[in-house]
């Protein structure tokens, strides 16, 4: 079967001073091929741990993750990643960053050059190929990160707070770009975010996770990502259904936070 199957995944971390933390407990989730799933939750709910397990950086203490039926046993180029910031290679130019994956795989130079040129145009950086990445703004750097990930043509793109460090306006623009790239490429995307609005706007499916132990609290199926192709983002985010969902999820997360605070003080 195609897509991602997360099957009974648990993750227990042992603390250096003794004691254990249940970062994830029996998480089950199926992600269809071509689906955009956003994952939301308060700090400590294990969402980054879950992403690291899917990426293959961490081995779960129980359960397994399968991609197209194959069990994930380590990192691989079929699962691309986009990080928050600072994951670009500052010693390379913009074009060389994007070409990193194909170059490591030993693809023909000419083919890679064409691909990089095309991708840079897609993310709106057509004339920036020869620049060093550190001369670019934060938003532009994240465009490079998206292009670098796409250059490898992965089956799945895992995004760990990719827009988290950007200012509000740039962030909205980049959400539009993520949506466009998703529609154009048909990639499966799992997006982790702290922003309720972003999770609602981009996710076809929205996973709300809860902490202690990290688990899936609720799953929403949402229409907004599809609407985003035709309607303006501002209109969607101001719509009554969107606002209602946002308030519902926000109060759910507030409750979780208060519960944690109660546990901590009580």
């Amino acid at each position: 079967m195609s897509g991602i199957a997360i099957d009974g995944v648990s993750m227990v971390f042992t603390l250096s001073g003794g004691g254990e933390v249940h970062a994830l407990q029996d998480v089950n989730l199926d992600v269809r091929e071509g689906e955009l799933v956003s994952v939301l939750g308060p700090s400590g709910c294990g969402k980054t741990t879950l992403l690291n397990i899917i990426a293959g950086f961490l081995a779960p203490t129980a359960g397994e993750v399968r991609l197209n039926g194959n069990v994930v046993r380590g990192p691989g180029s079929e699962r691309g990643m986009v990080f928050q910031q600072g994951a670009l290679f500052e010693w390379l130019t913009v074009a060389d960053n994007v070409a990193f994956g194909p170059n490591m795989a030993g693809k023909p130079r000419a083919e890679t050059r064409d691909k990089v040129e095309h991708l840079l145009a897609t993310v709106g950086l057509a004339d920036f190929g020869k620049k060093p990445v550190y001369q670019l703004s934060g938003g532009m750097q994240q465009r490079v990160a998206l292009a670098r990930c796409l250059a490898n043509d992965p089956d799945v793109i895992l995004m760990d707070e990719p827009l988290g460090a950007l200012d509000a306006l740039t962030r909205e623009k980049m959400q539009g770009l993520v949506l466009k790239l998703w529609k154009d490429t048909g990639k499966t995307i799992i997006l982790i975010t702290h922003s309720v609005e972003e999770a609602l706007f981009l996710g076809e499916k929205l996973i709300v996770m809860a902490p202690r132990p990290g688990r899936i609290e609720k799953i929403y199926d949402l229409p907004f990502a599809d609407e985003g192709m035709t309607k303006s983002p501002r209109d969607i985010k101001a719509g009554s259904e969107f606002v209602a969902r946002r308030e519902e999820i926000l109060s759910m997360i507030w409750e979780m936070e208060e519960e944690i605070m109660g546990q901590a003080t009580g």
Partner: protein, 288 residues
Amino acid sequence: MSEKKEPSDIAIWLGLADNAFTRQKTAKFGDASAINSGRFYSIIIVFGLGALWVLTSIAGVIEPFYWPTIGGTWNRIYLLVTEGFRGVPLWEHVGISVFRVLSGVFFGALVGIPLGFAMGLSSVARGLFDPVVEFMRPIPPLALIPLIILWFGIDETAKIFLLFLASLFIMTIAARSGVSSVRISKVHAAYSLGASKAQILRHVILPNALPEIFTGLRTSMGVCWGTVVAAELVAADRGVGSMIMIAKNFLQTDTVVIGIIIIGIIGYIIEILMRYLERWLIPWKGKG
């Protein structure tokens, strides 16, 4: 509203008036980034000291035994350049010292960089070498001279081995800290882009460590330059340090002073060259 008078270009160049940047300081005292060059005072002090030397030379108030006259120094420079010092041309004294430093730093880097990488990436290497490196680090290279003379005598090998040791530990520690400074998200990104372990080492960890390796090279150069002069004071027949020491025995204060000036100038040139090289080779330093 009264028009504010722009300071003249000369006043700005001399540092007597604030330039367009330092004028914007938001604190009258304490904003260290907005201090101007104060070049006027640099000029005063350099010319002042020069004038003092000229005046005392003319007046003849200082015994040449303590401090040479400017005329005597000039004559000595001429003699040193044309005839050399004790049969060895001046450029050879300078050249041999520089050669020793470059050799020492070269071998120090050759061994130290791989060693630092191994210590940063493997717990076996860290366990093996950590006690040695941490023990050797605080020992000044000069304290090793007696032992090295006992082992190697006083020939060229001894001096280069001493400088090798001086730079080895600096380079090892620099390379190790360069390796440790790699951000895990960069390594993760490379793995998820399909890079192998060897490719991660070559294309992520090495370039990421280069700025710190270069800082290590710069420090090594400085330390080795200081060490070579001191080592030559103890045991050598050629080199700037030995020139000073032998000149002292013959009470040639002017040669001593010239030697000291040469040491200062060469040290300064090394530092400037290394900074220039760094900006040229590693423009991404501090931009990660």
